[in-house]
């Protein structure tokens, strides 16, 4: 369609209300992008490095050489089973990093928490203490991502934090933020309905969406609205819950309370609206009305009512699809992928695992056209970089120093490129995960692009991040060392291509890279081979080291900073 015609069509009355169902946030498949075929049938094609890397980049943070080797020896189905069924048995707890500020009242319980120990069972009302603790949660969270087992768990925790969202800075109390994180971890690959029921009365959520101030005399509609619009039913033309439904839901939810200091939730019967709550025909005119003093049970009644709607399953499956697979949900994908996934979810009593297994083992997921069609989020970009390049952080034995470096990565850098974990843009999450029609393209703006490049430059060329006598940086020689045959410059370029990019570079470009970077303009491959072998034979020799290090730095910079392909996964 011509652009002008397209714009005009938007204003035609027929375009205002599409005759066929208009799915949530759905954009018509642009005519100039090839559709991706394949159904949910079990993938039975080849199982090479290429497929393993695709699976790992999508379900973990980065595809490390050793993980690729590990999964390549098993079948695709077993690999996905392991990724979905594995959990981190010991995620630990965030710790106190700095001694309590002298400005904090002597009576504050934080004084009793030793540096290096966890504070999660000790409440504090001091703003500065909670600020430090919230920063600590982010460092702890990032550390778990970096040290993830071979599992989809961490990816799912980030998914949920972007789906049933809170913002740490708004919630304030660090214990509540931690409990929320614990809840997401507990239900990461568990039961969706249970997660919604639990998060509804989660202290952090009750504070974030004002649920704890929602009383019969002064109802607050915030949670009642987002519960329907974002967490379950979704928004869009087919989701015709009404403003009265929002009000009725808000009244059902009256009475929940939170002890802000200790982050413990409760229910106060006298604040609960005991009148009948009547819902619209969209909910079959359901009436929620428990006897006096049983108001707390109405919250589950409400969620059970919401889960009678088919849209709940479709809404979550679309979000999962966009997170793991691709941003465009064509009519074909809606019919052949989303609808059956949603059926899987509801027929399995809203257990998430069967959905993940079905999606991640499918022909559609492993269609080669999917490779590289997601732009990395800042978390994918940063944690993937740390893991794939084997960047060394301060040792766990020095948690204070470790947290400083983690904080630089999690807050200073990832925040500057628009993804501060724990503090998404708003209750809908981070914008590129939901904003049609551009979605993940929105991660890359001129501002973030330059900052991503600057970060790589700093890590490779600029000496890295230095704090407390420790440098966090990329060691290109160590990266090359893990490749299959670093002495062969052709193989080295090919391995970098395989592990860092999702697109095979053309032979002329690979030759140019090899010649101009590794061979510094000469044409004989043996120059590189002898340089590498010299280094291996005498690694302490400064000249040997310098020769390979200089060239490998340039090679890494080229792959990670100059080639735009690196931003794809």
């Amino acid at each position: 369609m011509e652009r002008k015609e397209f714009i005009t069509s938007l204003f035609k009355p027929s375009a205002a209300k599409p005759a066929k169902a208009n799915f949530n946030n759905q954009v018509a498949m642009p005519e100039d992008i090839d559709p991706i075929g394949g159904s949910l049938s079990l993938y039975s094609g080849q199982w090479t490095e290429n497929e393993v890397i695709h699976l790992l980049k999508r379900t973990m943070y980065g595809a490390r050489v050793e993980d690729v080797t590990y999964f390549k020896t098993m079948s695709c189905s077993s690999a996905v089973d392991e990724l979905v069924n594995t959990v981190n048995p010991n995620p630990g707890e965030p710790i106190k990093v700095n001694s309590t500020s002298q400005t904090v009242a002597a009576t504050d319980p934080d004084w009793g928490v030793p540096v290096g120990r966890t504070w999660v069972n000790t409440g504090s009302t001091a703003g500065i203490v909670n600020r430090e603790r919230r920063a600590g949660i982010k460092s702890w969270w990032l550390n778990n991502m970096i040290n993830q087992p071979r599992s989809v768990e961490e990816k799912m925790i980030l998914f949920w934090s972007n789906y049933v969202t809170i913002e740490f800075e708004i919630v304030g109390g660090a214990i509540m933020c931690y409990k929320y994180m614990k809840l997401l971890r507990q239900h990461a690959t568990g039961n969706f309905k249970t997660l919604i029921k639990t998060v509804t009365i989660d202290p952090g959520m009750l504070v974030y969406l004002n649920g704890y101030e929602n009383t019969k005399t002064a109802p607050d509609e915030n949670y009642g609205r987002e519960l329907q619009e974002l967490f379950t039913i979704g928004k869009g033309p087919v989701n015709l819950f009404t403003e009265d439904d929002v009000k009725a839901a808000a009244r059902v939810l009256t009475g929940h309370s939170v002890n802000l200091t200790d982050g413990i939730n409760g229910f106060i019967n006298s604040r609960h609206d005991t009148n009948p709550k009547v819902f619209s025909s969209f909910y079959n005119n359901t009436v929620i009305n428990r006897p006096e003093n049983q108001g707390v049970l109405e919250t589950d009644d409400l969620i059970e009512m919401l889960f009678t709607k088919e849209e709940v399953s479709k809404n979550i499956c679309r979000r999962l699809y966009r997170y793991f697979v691709y941003h465009i949900i064509s009519d074909d994908v809606e019919t052949n992928i989303i609808a059956p996934l949603a059926a899987t979810l509801s027929s399995n009593n809203y257990e998430i695992k069967p959905v993940l297994l079905q999606l991640l083992k499918s022909e559609h997921f492993f269609n080669a056209m999917q490779y590289g069609d997601i732009i990395k989020s800042p978390v994918d970009y940063t944690v993937g970089l740390i893991r794939e390049c084997g960047i060394k952080l301060p040792p766990e034995s020095n948690p204070q120093l470790l947290y400083k470096h983690l904080n630089y990565l999690a807050v200073t850098f990832m925040g500057s490129v628009e993804q501060t974990i724990g503090d998404p843009n708003n209750v809908s999450g981070f914008i590129p995960y939901y904003q049609a029609p551009f979605f993940d393209k929105l991660w890359i703006t001129t501002d973030t692009f330059i900052k991503r490049q600057g970060f790589i430059d700093t890590m490779i060329n600029g000496g890295g991040y230095s704090n407390g006598g420790f440098n966090t940086f990329i060691d290109p020689v160590a990266v090359a060392f893990r490749m299959s045959n670093p002495a062969d410059p052709n193989q080295l370029v090919e391995d970098f291509n395989t592990y860092f990019l999702r697109r095979e570079l053309s032979q002329p470009l690979r030759d140019t890279i090899k010649t101009e970077i590794l061979l510094t303009g000469v044409t004989d491959d043996s120059y590189w081979a002898s340089a590498w072998n010299n280094y291996m034979n005498a690694p302490a020799n400064m000249e040997n080291y310098s020769v390979v290090n200089t060239r490998l730095k340039a090679l890494m910079l080229y792959f990670l900073s100059k080639l735009e392909e690196y931003h794809l996964m």
Binding site: I33, I36, E221, K235, M369, I375
Partner: protein
């Protein structure tokens, strides 16, 4: 300037000549982008729009206070109502006043540099932040789902071919600049984000690109790669022009700004404007208006979260206005301050307000017609929890007015930017749109003719000049200027006849490009043996 129209007109002109002569298609290149760019006269109007978005839903009723119904106002929200003696009065009216923290806006108003449009909204309003924000950003109906923004459509209409065909000599600068890195929906064009995002203009690094493979953008991966590459390319080009403008010798802020992030963004905008950027739109956002609780402090309702946020807006905008006035750029700049919705008339028990309907929109700057458009909202004597402020003006009427009277869009473009059915408000004098940025009657006038055409070498050329600088060039069919045929400044309007000789050029199709002031015309000429 209306570029699309221009290009279309050329195509029509070309069709006036026989469609095919000796096998050469004469209209084939009329819409070629190189040719299209040569049709730009370089005198588009220099108006700038600064968009200020207050995220969360600003409580309009505590921002612009209806003093004529003070007791109804007070009764509806006793726990957050501004004391009558603290409301800032406005010159020339006793009926309306402003929040005590809005003193910068009071000053602008009293100087005639602020236009308050009362109760702006749309039919069937929604209470959802996201949906309401999307509606305002896309200028859609309540039940209509659009994927591009109103400013994105405007920029796309004005600068067809962005980003691939840009920058150009005429528009070397970013079309729009927004602060923060997340692309604003209002600035999403039909096929591409139209905005350049910055946080700090000094943060740009030199970032020349190396080799790359050509990749088809028709594949899902290729489409994403193209986006990253486009941004990569833009970040090189535009970082230079922004830094140059920002760091130009003698380019300093001349007013004092508050020391906060929001105000520092206005400082940067003022310097970029003063530094000569031709950027049309700037977007800044301030979060924190979703005041469900603690909007005002009970013991002194002129303090609290809302007061703080209003003060940040008011002080920054006032400083910005003072700055660009001292820079003598104030006649080029209009600002608009809006929020996705207002809040309920009745406050809640938590000294806050829930999501509501309509709210005032503010336009600021020297060009605006100062005053209040519309009347105070009518408040019930006993407000219920569901009572809302109904709309007096559709927000698209405000957009339409800006597009028509400030950004000088013609009726064709207006229909593509804002759906039909809206009329303009007297937000500013639109006299500027007539003499500036608009080719006069290109449709009707045929400024330049050649005969014979096709020609074997010698042709006679006749053209009309309105006086002033007049340029005639011979241009290749790819759009490359080959020869200047004439460049003269005439003291009065007249028709000139001149002989030209193209015998030294190979056979084929060429254009004669005519430029006189804002008028540009391209005439095909076929060279034969």
């Amino acid at each position: 300037m209306q570029r699309r129209k221009f290009i279309r007109n050329t195509a029509v002109t070309a069709v006036g000549v026989p469609g095919l002569v000796n096998g050469f298609s004469l209209s084939a290149h009329a819409e070629d982008s190189m040719i299209g760019r040569l049709l730009q006269s370089g005198t588009a109007n220099d108006h700038i729009l600064v968009l200020v978005q207050l995220s969360g839903g600003n409580d309009g009723l505590n921002t612009v206070i209806p003093l004529d119904q003070y007791s109804n106002y007070y009764n509806a929200r006793t726990n957050i109502a501004i004391a009558e003696n603290r409301v800032l009065p406005l010159t020339g009216t006793n009926a309306t006043g402003l929040h005590p923290s809005f003193s910068g806006f009071r000053d602008l108003y009293n100087n005639g540099d602020l236009c308050i449009i009362q109760s702006v909204g749309y039919p069937s309003p929604v209470f959802s932040h996201f949906r309401a924000t999307d509606i305002w950003n896309t200028a859609s109906d309540s039940n209509q789902y659009l994927n591009d923004g109103w400013l994105g459509r405007y920029l796309n209409a004005e600068y067809n071919g962005f980003p691939a065909a840009f920058p150009t000599a005429e528009m070397p600068d970013p079309l729009a600049i927004q602060f923060g890195s997340s692309a604003a929906l209002a600035l999403l064009g039909p096929t591409s984000p139209m905005a350049y995002s910055i946080s700090d203009p000094n943060a740009f690094i030199n970032n020349a690109n190396g080799g790359q493979d050509a990749v088809a953008s028709t594949t899902p991966m290729g489409d994403k790669l193209k986006h990253v590459r486009d941004v990569s390319r833009q970040s090189e080009i535009y970082s230079t022009v922004i830094r140059t403008a920002y760091n130009m010798a003698g380019n300093n802020n001349l007013a004092t700004y508050p020391n906060n992030t929001f105000a520092s963004q206005f400082k940067i905008i003022a310097k970029l404007i003063n530094g000569g950027l031709k950027t049309k739109v700037y977007v800044v956002t301030l979060k924190g208006f979703d005041t469900h609780v603690g909007q005002a402090v009970g013991s002194d309702t002129s303090t609290g979260v809302h007061a703080t946020q209003l003060s940040i807006v008011s002080e920054a905008v006032k400083a910005f206005y003072n700055d660009i006035k001292l820079m003598n750029k104030d006649q080029r700049v209009m600002g608009m301050v809006f929020s996705e919705f207002g809040r309920r008339i009745k406050s809640n028990a938590g000294t806050g307000t829930d999501h509501g309907y309509a709210a005032p929109v503010f336009l600021f700057g020297s060009p605006v017609t100062g005053g209040i458009i519309g009347t105070n909202p009518l408040l019930p004597s006993v407000a219920g929890v569901d009572d809302n402020i109904d709309m007096q003006y559709d927000f698209r009427q405000v957009y339409y007015s800006i597009m028509k009277r400030w950004l000088c869009q013609d009726s064709t473009s207006l229909q593509q930017i804002i759906q039909p059915g809206f009329t303009d408000l007297n937000i500013c004098n639109n006299a500027d749109c007539a003499p500036l940025g608009r080719p006069t009657a290109v449709n009707e006038n045929n400024f330049v003719n050649t005969a014979p055409n096709p020609s074997s070498g010698i042709s006679s050329l006749s053209f009309y000049t309105a006086g002033g600088h007049t340029l005639l060039q011979l241009v290749s069919k790819e759009g490359r200027p080959l020869q200047t045929l004439l460049e003269t400044t005439y003291d009065r309007p007249q028709t000139i006849n001149k002989q030209i000789n193209i015998s030294s050029f190979p056979t084929g199709m060429y254009y004669i490009r005519y430029q006189n002031g804002r008028n540009v015309q391209m005439k095909p000429i076929l060279k034969v043996q």
